[in-house]
Amino acid sequence: MSGHSTYEPKYAAEKWLDKRLPIVRMGVDFMGFPSPRNLNYWYAFGGILTLCLISQIITGIILAMHYTPHVDMAFDSVQRIKRDVPFGWLLQPMHAVGAAMFFLAVYIHMLRGVFYGSYKAPRELLWVIGCLIYLAMMATGFLGYTLPWGQMSFWGATVITGFFGAIPIVGESLQQWLLGGFSVGNPTLQRFFSLHYLLPFIICALVGLHVWAVHHVGQNNPIGIDVKKKQDTLPFHPFYTMKDAFAIVVFLMIFAMFVFYLPDALGHADNYQRANPMVTPPHIVPEWYFLPFYAILRAVPSKLFGIILMFAAIAVMFILPWIDTAKVRSMRFRPIARWCFIIFLFMCFVLGWCGANSPSQIAIHMGEKGITFSTISRIATLYYFAFFIPILPLLGWFEKTKKLPKSITHAIHEGVA
């Protein structure tokens, strides 16, 4: 897909440099990358995510200049950033809200990939690297949420590290090793800060591989058929740089709305209380982007099985390219899969709703009694897994797909792309 280089150095200096270090050539070829001409706005999220990563790293490096990773000082140092540090009121929410926006973008990006079958051959590794990035993002998000050392930070860290304590035999020693003590304390905070600073650079490296892979196999597109001729493509610049730029502006408007007007809307009020190991907040909840997994964790009344299910919910994403047996990539041409996907999306929201509420609470009132969140989360968890196994493998065999267009260019002329 890379094709041959279109770069021709004009001036002597350019030629001199090109012979010694063809870095300009690399950049020109990168920007001129032939992309399918029918990419829609769902394809702008790659660019948006790059921006999120850069923004998180820049604001993060700045916050680290003012933050103190010590149990006695962490909470105050974050408050100081918000109140006293010049423009801290802007930079701290940019980082905290930025994390939420990053997850919003990555979820859209992933669901886009599922809908258009972007994980199918030859893009399996591209997908798996993407899953690794998501995993690293989850770790980074969790570690970062601990740093302000409020009540939710502390108890979130206690609950999550408690997962490891559930592992038979080695659990307790493993948990003590992770915490650096008998419970979440100063050694925990310090290592979480160190790792929170490290992981984004690992994400950068993974993003490098992800982009390399997409440039090697080429982008998928909304109709999911391969690029056949040059007419099917457009150079990335200026066509998609402009399209991405517009999407980024819209995305930044939403981002800015949260940063300036609702900086705490996505967080939890309890995190404005100092961490207190003697008092558990009445209702521990993770950030919104972890709620569906939290609901899966609590869907079963067994500690170990709940943890296994939660990790399975993430692990199943990694094997998606091999469990979907359908030959047709895009769900635009898969009438049943499309509905199963829409239900899947709905169930993810349902799980999020269950995760935000207490399991024993009544979700839907019916006369005297009603349906509890625990029951609903069980149904949604069941569908979550059923979508991967057996729905996707079975559909590949039974589903009658619609007729695929001859080429991307044909599809555009016929008005279906």
Partner: protein, 197 residues
């Protein structure tokens, strides 16, 4: 340079070619093994540094004066970063705990098994000492001063996080927690002082 190269390859093919191969293989394996041992020896401190440090482990015990706790009261004392519950149980609570059929419990334990002998060598069923950490995900259950959460039906402790319920002996009765509230290692060092840890 090229002469030397030719010499070398000639040497390898002459006579003891096979012999050379095994010797070279041996050197490869020996080098690899030495490197693996070295890497392992280096990895050990890099991994072990994360365990609880000596000062953290040294601060692992606490002495508690129990003389001020009155019947029906509970005090919380921080031990290893976690609260220890010291509950002076009422006669009714003790009777309730004794009345339970142990075979029906998730983590079977009689009430008596949850105590250590006091200073005079007998068990004091009035003073229940437990780690106040839910065995599910480590939240702190409610139940201070007999103010049991109205949602609990076993008269003991109730965890607000995921709804685990413990009875008046701190045994798990309902909800996702797998085990009874932990009894820490402790002993009476006088009539009125216990040492936890």
């Amino acid at each position: 340079m090229s002469d030397k190269f030719a010499d070398n390859s000639g040497y390898a093919h002459e006579g003891h070619g096979d012999d050379e191969h095994t010797r070279r293989d041996f050197i490869y394996i020996a080098t690899g093994a030495a490197a693996a041992v070295g890497a392992g020896a280096l990895a050990w401190p890099l991994v072990t540094q994360m365990s609880a440090a000596a000062d953290t482990r040294a601060a692992g015990f606490v002495e508690i004066d129990i003389s001020q706790v009155e019947e029906g009261q509970q005090i919380k004392v921080l031990w290893r970063g976690k609260p220890v519950f010291i509950r002076y149980r009422t006669q009714k609570e003790i009777e309730e705990a004794d009345a339970v059929d142990v075979s029906t419990l998730r983590d079977p334990q009689t009430d008596d098994e949850r105590f250590v002998p006091n200073f005079s060598g007998k068990i004091n069923k009035k003073l229940l000492v437990m780690v106040g950490v839910c065995t599910h995900f480590g939240c702190i259950p409610y139940g201070e001063q007999g103010k049991v959460d109205p949602q609990s039906s076993f008269g003991g402790w109730y965890c607000p996080c995921h709804g685990s319920e413990y009875d008046t002996s701190g045994r798990i009765r309902k909800g996702p927690a797998p085990l009874n509230l932990l009894i820490p290692e402790y002993k009476y060092i006088s009539e009125t002082v216990i040492k936890v840890g």
